[in-house]
């Protein structure tokens, strides 16, 4: 079969040059759709890394009402410390809370100046052994009588709890939307690229109808007649996929360091393994689009 590989590649290249406008259109649309797939994968990856890092730091804050009985607070603290899910409990007084807030808001002193009295509640900061148990721990706290007695807002105890799960949930909601929009765009672009491939292959079949007629006449097998066209579609897609991968690598090299500078507290980095996996997915998707596009065209326009 060694001679055939050369023959097929020669045929595909000739055909690409003959129909270069259509072929270029196919390559560009495949490039764009795979680029979008790749970028949304990178975004998703970064978000999940961020989520992981947030989870690492996750803790539950219990806000306490002003003037809660010290004995009750200490009883609650003791109860929390006895729970096997809890690693540590830290009491933060109103004054400490204000100090923290002032530090965070150092950039905008007018907010601090505008505060006449300390609006911040005292709190118990609960650190857990395993961040995945946040929800479970929250439920246990809510069921605890002591908590309702000392919490900042007895009318709605839920509001007196702040925990990372909410941030995590919001991040996930955000990525869901990104993903949905991405899927719609990618589906549109992918169908456009299928149409382009379909057309290039149709033109290629038309340009080679004489050769095809003779091949059928002398008994070339169906797969032999089809192979150059399938290969042509696949080569176009691989070209598009290759450029998409290069673009993503370039974007990653240019943008990520700056993003990291801007967000020093978040882990903005894509591992080599993740990049390799991404490349494999894009190449695979490219091959699939190429095979589908030329496969449709062959079914419709090449009767063997």
């Amino acid at each position: 079969m060694a001679i055939n590989v050369g023959y097929f590649i020669k045929e595909s290249v000739t055909s690409f040059r003959r129909n270069w406008v259509m072929s270029l259109g196919a390559v560009i649309t495949i490039y764009l759709s795979l680029l979008l797939v790749g970028l949304s994968m990178v975004t998703g990856y970064l978000v999940s890394e961020v989520v992981k890092s947030v989870e690492d730091k996750v803790s539950i804050q219990i806000f306490l009402k002003d003037g809660a009985a010290t004995a009750d607070v200490e009883a609650l603290q003791g109860w929390l410390l006895r729970d096997e899910l809890v690693e540590a409990v830290n009491y933060v007084s109103k004054e400490q809370a204000l100090e923290r807030f002032k530090e965070e808001m150092a950039g905008s002193p007018e907010i601090i100046d505008s505060m006449r009295e300390n609006p911040l509640p005292a709190s118990l900061d609960v650190t857990l052994n395993d961040p995945r148990t946040v929800q479970e721990m929250v439920e246990r706290i809510k069921a605890q009588e002591l908590f309702v007695q000392v919490c900042d807002r007895p009318d709605d105890p839920e509001q007196s709890l702040k925990y990372g799960q909410q941030i995590v949930d919001r991040l996930f909601a955000f990525t869901r939307i990104v993903r949905l929009v991405g899927v719609v765009f990618v589906a549109m672009l992918a169908s456009v690229s299928l149409i382009f491939i379909n057309n290039t292959i149709r033109l290629a079949i038309y340009a080679r109808r004489k050769e095809i007629g003779i091949m059928r006449l002398v008994g070339a097998s169906n797969s032999f007649i089809r192979a150059p066209f399938l290969l042509e579609g696949v080569l176009q897609s691989l070209l598009g996929a290759g450029i998409a991968i290069l673009t993503i690598v370039a974007i990653q090299a240019a943008v990520l360091p700056r993003l990291q500078e801007a967000l020093p507290f978040l882990p903005v980095d894509v591992s080599t393994a993740a990049m390799l996996q991404l490349s494999a997915v894009l190449l695979g998707a490219g091959i699939l689009i190429g095979l589908l596009g030329s496969g449709f065209a062959l079914r419709r326009y090449l009767k063997v």
Partner: protein, 228 residues
């Protein structure tokens, strides 16, 4: 080598192009298929190539029931059938050598086989000096020889020709017919559809005559026909 039993072919809803054809052609025979334009000769040939399926009846070619033949096996059937046409069907951007080599390349023959068999068959058809010529540099007769070389290079047991001399002058046609005769002498079964009366009369081979889709005569050492 070729058996047709009660074969009929109707295109669409028209009147049938072939009716109830019963024909047996033995291995090594040379047969002329004659008849006016529109009598069904091309339909006959295309049925044997399995370019068409019959509307009814049974066709056996080279031991295979080609009506029941699976689609993917058709190419392998065609490797046993060389075909020659009135319009030569040569690729204009390929030389004689390349045109013949193409037929072997696309059925996966090795370079070695191609390098030995192509010059040999071009010599057989008398074109050893025109191997590097393109079709537009060749006369009609020479182009038809290239197309015969292409049909025969794989040494098929059957050679079908549909009006192979339709575009050629009488002297050139005679040369082409004697080439078919030489190929037939190697044991190949040859079926030539033609309405070239002089040719048929001079060769004195078996003649199958078609008229409006009916086989009206099947005669050994026959002539084109009486009267008309």
């Amino acid at each position: 080598m070729i058996t047709m039993r009660k074969v009929g072919k109707t295109y669409g809803t028209d009147k049938p192009a072939l009716h109830d054809v019963d024909v047996d052609i033995e291995q090594g025979e040379f047969v002329f298929l004659v008849g006016h334009s529109g009598s069904g000769k091309s339909t006959f040939i295309r049925l044997l190539q399995r370019e068409l399926l019959p509307s009814r009846g049974q066709i056996v070619v080279a031991g295979q029931d080609i009506v029941k033949l699976k689609n993917w096996k058709v190419p392998y059937l065609r490797r046993n059938i060389g075909c020659v046409f009135q319009d030569f069907k040569l690729l204009p951007n390929k030389t004689s050598y390349e045109n013949v080599a193409f037929a072997l390349e696309v059925i996966g023959r090795s370079k070695h086989v191609i390098r030995t068999q192509v010059p040999e068959v071009l010599r057989l058809v008398g074109l050893e000096d025109k191997m590097e010529s393109y079709p537009d540099e060749l006369s009609g007769g020479e182009q038809q020889r290239v197309s015969i070389a292409r049909a025969f290079v794989n040494r098929p047991p059957i050679l079908l020709a549909d009006e192979p001399t339709g575009n050629l002058d009488p002297a050139t046609s005679l040369g082409i017919m004697s080439l078919f005769n030489r190929i037939n002498k190697t044991g190949t079964t040859v079926l030539v559809a033609t309405h070239d009366r002089e040719m048929v009369d001079s060769m004195r081979k078996r003649v199958i005559a078609l008229e409006n889709g009916y086989v009206v005569r099947d005669q050994h050492r026959g002539v084109y026909g009486y009267g008309d």
